[in-house]
């Protein structure tokens, strides 16, 4: 029997029973049928580490740390028996999570005892993409990598090295070891996942309030006190399940109202009082239509605006003069005008309202302006900087970053692009300058848009180094595959999260085989270039020292020491904390407050000291892009109706202009908003929305854990029954989805809870995964269609067509 046959019974569409009778006799029949089917299949069943242990040894101690996987950053207890990790549970005394943990936080233990972990450095012996390797010693590998990097630097310059840090990396890698190495080596082309994920959110916050994280906290006394929750493009229930548990619990206890705007009736929408289905990529129009109603109906909070906001009068005039009425917005975002008015009034009249934005706002060519439009909506209503009132959108968070001492690093010039996918064309063509080497501590061959072109690019490179936990698709294209550690195998901090919490994770267990931490790698590689005065030998085995000496140097961050983290009951503290003795702040930007640690004593650290919508300076900063601080509506090019879109005035093969929002440290392409109808191929009649899969998965990592595969095995495509019927597609069918950029296959999940003209495909699969390999949805995504300001790619409004495979 082929492996995985018994798993075929657990396709999403089947796992979620097709019967329409809720838990009836029919339900029991179905369950009995599946159980019988499972029983017919013989083992080959994965169970590590549970099967290996049998009855687990009683733990002799508990180490409190944080889960290292996702952006919920839940504190956990690592249960240890001797040198063995036996179990992972939540911290019940924790005020935010109350001991709750999502599935992956618990079965992360399968990472540490997985037979599929990379444990030995390997060197390629076949062609790129073939995946044939031979073992190599660490020192030999590092010597060879250093020699080849030296050659690349001599021939093409330091900037032809690109460094990408993937989703499994904490601050300590992307903003620590990798960032320092890039600075010292002299390449500006070092980036993490932010431009694929949330740089639109962070840069919008930077403009509005002068710092990136949302000002509120996930506590019962802050976000828990809202009377109205509006989720736009944020599927919190599946992406940050524990935070959503807190919010939903407070909602039910307080009788608050929850409205979700999303093309898909997600798990979050399934819990909402109201689901509003919208056209993908048009949330900016919704915000503008709501603002128009607020202004016309006199629902703006003039008192708050006068005290704390600059540029709001100009915004009001702009929205009115542009006639961004609810009727106009209705045509753009496909939501009835009456609903937009009602939503606007409910929002403005709520005593305390919170807007949760997410990737549904960020991952579009208008991500930056869409985020700002919702900021403006909140500011007009005075819902900002109060407990239970504000705008939240997860992003890179606090400024925790290592920098080389002044004068130590060579001048670097601007990065080719802010987004790593902006390197792809330069890798292929050498224009505007060549990228010849890539060090990746992540899996671009699932994560990056432009998959077909990226494969060509990787073949063109002189050197590809891959450092990961598991052999993802990118490994096959690497010259050197290096085994790395996870947080509990080395000591690390948690991920950036919505809640400004920074948590320390102690080293609990030894890494498997010869796996070494990212920091170890950067230190060793740096030593070969004479960087060991900065990337010091001692950091290799003492990440806490690295954190305390290198990572908390930014203003407001000095108090985020490992000592303070270790002293707190759940091992996390909430920043900013300017000096070690300073208190944590639950809600920032409360009227009359001074921003923690701001030397100028400002309310908020913007140039004006107020929350900024429009200023002369902002006008000057945005003009070079061809945009204005006032949010003129445009959307992605992949629309089925004629709406304004961007014309790019330069290609990725041209230099472009320095990007002012990034302080000129990256180049970008100027744009022009166009209203000329686009010539589109009518064959591509479906709006593809990509996004995070349900809670059991997190990007590439979890696809190597058996329990995540058991819960959500195959890549699926969610299709509305009417669309499916028209195409003769039935639940469980294999479906081919294609467009000009590529083609993928997914299993059909027929479901009413999605916009009729849209389909949804989750991210995170790749074609070399062990259990359910599939080409990533990013094969269909054009890597050129990016927001000129945040450089985020449009991953959620893409025209495709479908057919039964």
């Amino acid at each position: 029997m082929p492996p995985g046959k018994h798993r075929a019974a657990l396709r999403p569409g089947v796992y979620a029973p097709r019967t329409r009778r809720a838990w009836s006799a029919r339900f029991a029949e179905d369950v009995r049928k599946w159980v019988a089917e499972l029983a017919r299949n013989e083992p080959g069943i994965e169970g590590y580490p549970y099967s290996e242990i049998g009855k687990p040894p009683r733990p002799d101690r508990v180490v409190i740390g944080s889960c290292p996987i996702c952006f919920n950053s839940c504190p956990v207890q690592y249960h240890m028996a001797g040198d063995r990790l036996t179990s992972i549970t939540g911290v019940e005394s924790d005020p935010v999570t109350r001991g709750r943990l999502c599935p992956k936080g618990q079965y992360q233990i399968q990472t540490y005892y997985s037979p599929d972990r990379l444990t030995q450095p390997q060197k390629r012996i076949g062609a790129r993409g073939e995946g044939r390797f031979e073992p190599i010693a660490w020192d030999q590998a590092l010597d060879e990598i250093a020699a080849r990097l030296q050659q690349v630097r001599d021939r093409f310059g330091a900037r032809s090295l690109a460094i990408y840090t993937g989703t499994r990396s904490s601050w300590m890698n992307k903003a620590g070891g990798a960032a320092l190495f890039a600075e010292l080596f002299g390449t500006p082309n070092q980036e993490g996942t932010a431009p694929l994920c949330a740089s639109a959110a962070s840069q919008a916050f930077m403009v509005t309030q002068g710092f990136a994280p949302g000002p509120n906290s996930f506590t019962e006394t802050d976000l828990g006190t809202a009377t109205f929750y509006l989720f736009v493009g944020d599927n919190m229930a599946e992406t940050r399940p524990v935070y959503f548990g807190l919010i939903n619990d407070c909602r039910l206890r307080n009788g608050a109202r929850l409205v979700v705007v999303d093309p898909r009736q997600s798990a979050t929408a399934a819990k909402a009082d109201e689901w509003i289905c919208c056209r993908p990529g048009t949330d900016m129009a919704l915000a503008l239509g709501m603002m128009h109603h607020l202004i016309e109906a006199g629902l703006i909070n003039t008192e708050y605006l006068q005290a704390h906001v600059v540029g709001w009068e100009r915004l009001c005039t702009f929205v009115r003069d542009s006639a961004y009425t609810p009727e106009w917005a209705a045509r753009a975002c496909d939501i009835p005008a009456a609903t937009i008015r009602r939503l606007a009034a409910e929002f403005a009249n709520a005593p305390r309202a919170v807007v949760f934005g997410g990737k549904g706002l960020n991952q579009h060519s208008n991500g930056f302006q869409t985020n700002r439009a919702f900021h403006m909506l909140c500011l007009l209503a005075g819902h900002w900087g109060r407990p239970g009132a504000g705008f939240m959108n997860l992003n890179r968070g606090l400024p925790l970053h290592a920098h080389a001492p002044e004068g130590r690093a060579p001048l670097r010039g601007p990065a080719l692009r802010k987004s790593p996918v902006g390197w792809i064309d330069a890798m292929c063509t050498g224009r505007p300058y060549p990228i010849k080497a890539l060090i990746s501590t992540g899996n671009p061959l699932s994560t990056w848009p432009g998959q077909a072109r990226l494969r060509q690019a990787l073949i063109e490179l002189d050197l590809v180094v891959y450092m990961e936990l598991f052999p993802h698709a990118t490994a096959a294209f690497a010259d050197y595959v290096l085994p790395t550690t996870s947080a509990v195998e080395a000591g690390d901090v948690n991920r950036s999260n919505d809640d400004r919490r920074v948590g320390w994770i102690e080293k609990c267990i030894e890494p498997p085989g010869e796996a070494r931490s990212d920091l170890h790698f950067w230190t060793e590689l740096g030593k070969r270039f004479g960087f060991d005065d900065v990337l010091r030998e001692e950091f290799k085995h003492d990440p806490a020292r690295f954190w305390d000496t290198m990572m908390i140097s930014a203003q407001g961050m000095h108090g985020l020491t490992t000592e303070r983290m270790r002293a707190s009951p759940s091992k996390w503290i909430r920043g900013p904390i300017p000096e070690p003795g300073d208190p944590e702040v639950e809600t920032l930007l409360q009227p009359g407050s001074v921003f923690p640690g701001d030397v100028k004593g400002r309310f908020t650290p913007t140039p004006s000291g107020k929350l900024e919508i429009w200023t002369e300076e902002l006008q000057t900063r945005l003009a070079p892009y061809g945009l204005s601080p006032l949010p003129e509506f445009y959307t992605d090019r992949g629309q089925l109706v004629d709406l304004p879109y961007l014309d790019y005035l330069a290609s990725d093969e041209e230099e472009g202009i320095p990007s002012p929002i990034w302080g000129g440290k990256a180049l970008t392409r100027p744009v022009r908003i166009s209203t000329q109808p686009l010539a589109r191929d009518r064959a591509y009649d479906t709006e593809l929305v990509s996004g995070r899969p349900p809670a059991p998965h997190f990007h590439s990592w979890t696809h190597w854990l058996w329990q995540a595969n058991e819960m959500w095995p195959e890549q699926f495509v969610m299709i509305h029954p009417k669309k499916a019927a028209g195409l003769g597609i039935k639940d469980g069918d294999a479906v081919v989805i294609d467009n000009q950029h590529g083609s993928i296959t997914a299993v059909a999940w027929i479901h009413e809870g999605i916009r009729e003209s849209s389909v949804f495909v989750p991210i995170g699969w790749d074609e070399r995964q062990k259990q359910h390999p599939a080409r990533s949805v990013n094969w269909l995504v054009d890597h050129h269609e990016r927001d000129p300001i945040s450089d985020q790619t449009n991953m959620k409004s893409i025209l495709v067509r479908l057919r039964r495979a």
Partner: protein
């Protein structure tokens, strides 16, 4: 031949305060953390379950998911107990917990097929039936209630004496769903969803409906 005294004896009535799980369908987000917690605590491999979460698209709801945790109902008259020819399944007279004694289980899987709630699965490694005993080991060693209830991110699973749980739910204005469709005396408590929260009275304005 294996004796089956249970087959001859009248079924034990549960004690005054049976221990049960309460599952709040309004709070469950279908994330499957309870499955992960259960397998971690009880060391279950692939294909083995003591609980499972189903995503069910009910009729007439515009495609809104309903999530249901399928788990042992700790029935008053358990079908599994009746089906077991090896007298390996018992019901605790005080707590009402239905438990499989692995030492006596012969691996015939009759109980797996008998349970209409799909709550009994099979351990292929040891050739034994597997079902929820409300984390007997956690309770016995003072580690609190069942692992699923402790881990649930949605705060949807509660554990305790059945009457107290129902009383508290009624105090909160919640309704209990009747899932006892097979006449077995299913004891796990499921709370119905709540009606959608309307616009708050304090927030209503004349222009609110546009």
């Amino acid at each position: 031949m294996v004796d089956n005294p249970a087959a001859d004896k009248p079924l034990q009535e549960p004690g005054p305060e049976p221990l049960v799980l309460l599952i709040d369908l309004e709070r469950c987000t279908g994330c499957r953390a309870c499955e992960a917690a259960c397998k971690l605590e009880n060391r279950l491999g692939e294909g083995m379950f003591r609980n499972r979460v189903f995503w069910m698209p009910p009729e007439d709801s515009n495609g809104r998911f309903e999530f249901v945790v399928a788990v042992c109902q700790q029935c008053v008259r358990p079908a599994c107990l009746r089906a077991c020819g090896a007298a390996a399944i018992s019901k605790d007279p005080v707590t009402g917990v239905v438990e499989i004694d692995s030492d006596h289980c012969t691996g015939c899987q009759e109980c797996v097929l008998a349970c209409p709630y799909g709550a009994v699965s099979f351990d292929y490694r040891r050739h034994k039936a597997e079902k929820c005993n409300l984390c007997a080991d956690r309770r016995a060693t003072g580690r609190g209630g069942p692992a699923c209830a402790a881990a649930c991110p949605g705060r949807a699973i509660a554990f305790g004496p059945r009457s107290a749980l129902i009383e508290r739910a009624h105090d909160d204005g919640r309704h209990v769903r009747n899932v006892d469709r097979f006449g077995l005396g299913a004891s796990t408590v499921y709370l119905e969803r709540t009606p959608p929260s309307a616009v708050r009275a304090t927030g209503e304005r004349d222009d609110a409906t546009g």
